[in-house]
Amino acid sequence: MRWSDRNDDDNLEALLRGSDDSRLGSALAELREKAPEAPAGLRERTRELASQEPRPAQRRRLFESLRISWAHLGAAGAAVLLIAVAIPVVGSLARTGGGSPEATGDAGSAGETPRSPVEEAYGGADDGREQSAQDSSGGGTDAPTAVGPQPSPPPPPAALKGAQPPVLSRANDASAGAAPVPSTTRAQNYSSEITLHVGGHEELSEAVQSAIRTTRALGGYVTYVDYGTSGSEDGEARLNVRVPVGRVQGAVARFSELGTILEQQTEIVDLQGRIDRITRDIQQRRDRIAKLEAELKDPTLSEAERDRLEARLVRAKRGLANAMRSRAGVLRQSRFAKLDLTFTTEKRSEPAAPPSELRQTLDDALGILAAELGVLLFVLIAGLPFVALGLIAWLGARALRRGSTQRVLERA
């Protein structure tokens, strides 16, 4: 029976092992037995060639040293561990490197009442680090008006703000309603916006009336009141009041007791520079007036010259009066702090507690990893067509090479 007539899977291996007694098996045994041997001349030449083997080069030793061992695996593991530790540490340092957690809005534990950025900057004393002010003329100089339904006050001054993040604290909390201390040596425009939650209509009315009484008791006045209710419980009231700057802390503390603080934002605009400029202008005008008056005492002046000097003197006195009025207005503005109070019965959702240090560190690490994955994904997506093309080209070239080789062997 022919070997090729048997459809046995083990047929081939048995044949190669020599355990097949077919004619082909005998032929293969003969092939093995009578395989040609290299001639002596070739053997000699090969020995001579092999004797020219160079000594092992340094490169070989280096190559051998690159063989992976347990030490290499341990070093690789340590490197991975180091990177895993370094990422959160670097993230943490990067986050805290720009300033204290308070300065970046981290209020620490939920039990603490965070201090406002302005409070942080002033530190409870005047150290001359007030923010520069934009022109705030037209605001804060209004005369006291009657309480009750009143026309809307003039628009609030535009100013650079020392904004404080939303604060949620109990009014009976000792630290609730803490306000930045105004400077005692520099003129400032002090304004604060406070939003408080009250229980219902009755509490809303009582809070508004109490705020008005408190304002008056502190020597201030109310410039605007807007009181409105809807439904059985919903209601909101807005008050704009002015209180003497020296009593603003007490005012804020007492207003804070009228409800639960939902939001507080304080801004302090320095006015001292503006006052100094006006003061210098006043002095220059006074000097000019004195000079003009001295010139007018000269008896040798002609009539025309005298008329011209008198006209200049009138203009100078008018300018002096304007400058003094302007300075008085700015000084008035700096004497009273502007407080915008909003009482609402609507309970706003409490802001989420600030994440812990560990959580922020993990978030930073995850953020870095996510960014790296994003870049990797982008590279993969962008490079995928090229990789696919390269793969197809490589497969094609390999198939062509194999086909060419096969043809060469078939013809040989």
Binding site: R2, S4, L16, R23, A38, L49, A50, R402, L409
Partner: protein, 172 residues
């Protein structure tokens, strides 16, 4: 430590050449059917192997497999050069070998000798690797640059042809 040092030690090229000279020569004889060409190509193979000996890595395959790969590449280069030469000259028949008249299979029985001579180089190659050199399927496939299954199929086809031709020659 001693084991590591021993494993790191490498056989000399001379000992490898001594051990596998016959294998390479037989492989090339079967590929070329010409002892003189096989002689030259064997010499060339070991010359190339010596040049690349520093890059040889025993973990990626045995020295015999590596030498057979070089021998095959050398033989293919020879075949291609020979075909180009034949095309240029157009002086010989396409199947006419270039070499001396010594029959490399003279020691074999006439039917087997005749059958071997009628097989293509591709068939003789796989027979040489699997039967004469007794390489396993994986090593033979690696030498030929194909998959293990393809290698088995090629061997099976080559053996069938050989069997048929041996029987026919025996009948004649």
């Amino acid at each position: 430590m001693t084991r590591r040092r021993l494993s790191a030690e490498r056989r000399s090229f001379a000992s490898v050449a001594e051990d596998h000279l016959d294998d390479v020569y037989r492989f090339l004889v079967y590929l070329t059917k010409d002892v003189n060409i096989a002689d030259d190509l064997t010499q060339e193979t070991f010359s190339k192997a010596l040049n690349g000996w520093s890059r040889f890595d025993e973990r990626r395959g045995s020295a015999r497999t590596w030498l057979c790969q070089i021998a095959r590449s050398t033989a293919l280069d020879h075949f291609r050069a020979e075909q180009r030469r034949r095309k240029r000259e157009e002086a010989y028949a396409a199947t006419e070998p270039v070499g001396d008249d010594r029959d490399p299979f003279a020691a074999l029985s006439p039917p087997l000798r005749s059958a071997l001579r009628e097989l293509s180089a591709a068939d003789r190659e796989v027979i040489a690797l699997r039967v004469i050199l007794e390489l396993d399927g994986e090593a033979a496939a690696r030498v030929m640059g194909i998959g293990r299954t393809a290698c088995a199929m090629r061997l099976s086809r080559a053996l069938k042809k050989l069997e048929e031709k041996v029987e026919i020659d025996a009948l004649v």
